[in-house]
């Protein structure tokens, strides 16, 4: 008997699902992540907390590619994130096998959100302790989505999740404008992380992923693809910050 037949997440007298609230608290304990949608692309970034100088930083995978045109980052519990990365990648491949093209971001988001919702209702399981930020480009252009432990998802122009989300979002509200280009967006994302970072802002303490829209990438001669910036590239951006 490896399955509880009853849900562990049930309504409290005041109508709340407390396990979901607690899961959001777990997200709030996690390192901050930010995302910004520019006119010609999307950037997502996160603080990489190096627990000890002995950790081999190259073995950590926070900024993940789900398929060529979609990337994902999280705030909250790393182990739970890995499960969702696996699911997202499998789902993307299934879509590609059927339709011979990458899934639109919102389709992948809906699928992930549905999985996360299941874990708030199925027997014997707890909700995921992560909020996700998905960045991708599809026929609608650049997309930035947030998915929460409850299974709710939100499209954003710019947002932050994790420990410093309140201050970060205030910071972003002031700095964001819809005509921003991807380069400026990366710069702004770094500044936003800098506001609330615990420890030093270096090229190994943050992870940045970008994807540009078809037209901008084609003009530069590249195929649009989500890519994680190398430490050298991040160092370049940091040198432009006072």
């Amino acid at each position: 008997m490896d399955r509880y037949s009853f849900s562990l997440t049930t309504f409290a007298p005041n109508g709340k699902l407390l396990q979901i609230e607690h899961a959001l608290a777990a997200v709030g304990n996690g390192s901050t992540s930010v995302g910004i949608k520019a006119a010609n692309g999307v950037v997502i970034a996160t603080e990489k907390k190096a627990g000890s100088s002995l950790i081999d930083v190259s073995s950590l995978e926070h900024m993940t590619k789900i398929c060529d045109s979609i990337g994902m980052v999280y705030s909250g519990m790393g182990p739970d994130f890995r499960v969702l990365v696996s699911s997202a990648r499998k789902m993307a491949q299934r879509y590609i096998q059927t339709y011979k093209e990458d899934p639109p971001v919102r389709i992948l988001v809906k699928e992930l959100a549905s999985i996360m919702q299941e874990f708030t209702q199925s027997g014997g399981v707890r909700p995921f302790g992560v909020s996700l930020l998905l960045a991708g480009v599809d026929e609608r252009g650049p997309n930035l989505y947030q998915v929460d432990p409850s299974g709710s998802y939100f499209p954003w122009k710019a947002t932050a999740i994790g420990k410093n989300m309140v201050n970060s979002k205030t910071f972003l509200e002031k700095r964001f404008n819809g005509d921003m280009e991807l380069e400026d967006a990366v710069h702004t994302a770094i500044l936003t992380l800098k506001e609330g970072i615990e420890g030093q802002l270096t090229e190994t303490s943050i992870d940045i992923g970008v994807i540009s829209t078809v037209s901008a990438a084609q003009a530069a001669g590249e195929k649009p693809a989500f890519k994680r910036l190398t430490t050298a590239e991040i160092k370049d951006y940091l040198s432009n910050i006072a």
């Binding site: 608290a25 182990p79 707890r126």
Partner: protein
């Protein structure tokens, strides 16, 4: 029920969230590792990787040569288990199964990083599904990767895993970490 369950302290009995977003069962599993009273250490060098662990034989009548917490998973991967010995044995058997299945499915031997990821993924399941408790062990995996050379990984009851230049697990892991961090300042692997 679970709101009252959390308030009634059930969050301490199964892996559901506490009000501040913690998983008490996972935290208690970590305590169980410390309670075992033994420490293990792993260090990765340029062309080799080493694990060492304390050995305590509780009774003179026990055949000391049979007491070990170091196990071979594959011809190129080994591990040391720190914490509750029976849970450790469970993980070792599972790791051997996973390695064998991998070889069968893909035709080549599993690498230390993939084995660590798989074992950490299994640990994560125990933190999310109520039917099994997290295991009270930390697994330090060492091995040889044909493409990357010597490898050192550690998994824990929370489902975390990382690669390390040096690491420790068990009762005195914090002291060991402090010592190793000082000794291995900078980025270079140990010589």
């Amino acid at each position: 029920m679970s709101s009252r369950a959390a308030n009634a302290g059930y969050d301490r009995h199964i892996t559901i969230f506490s009000p501040d977003g913690k998983l008490f069962q996972v935290e208690y599993a970590f305590k169980a590792i410390s309670n075992a009273g033994l420490t293990s250490v792993g260090v990765r060098g340029q062309d080799s990787v080493v694990i060492a662990t304390q050995k305590k034989v509780p009774d003179k009548l026990i055949d000391a040569s049979t007491v070990t917490r170091v196990f071979q998973i594959t011809p190129t991967i080994g591990c040391v288990m720190t914490g509750l010995d029976p849970d450790g044995r469970n993980q070792v058997i599972r790791a051997r199964q996973e390695a064998a299945e991998f070889k069968y499915k893909y035709g080549y031997s599993i690498t230390p990083d993939l084995l660590a990821k798989r074992m950490a993924g299994i640990n994560q399941v125990y933190t999310q599904k109520a039917f099994m408790r997290p295991l009270g062990v930390s697994m330090i995996i060492i091995g040889w990767d044909d493409e990357r050379g010597p490898q050192l990984y550690k998994t824990d009851p929370a489902g975390h895993f990382s690669g390390y230049r040096a690491t420790a697990a068990g009762a005195k892991h914090q002291e060991a970490f402090n010592y190793l961090e000082k000794k291995l300042k900078g980025d270079a692997p140990a010589s």
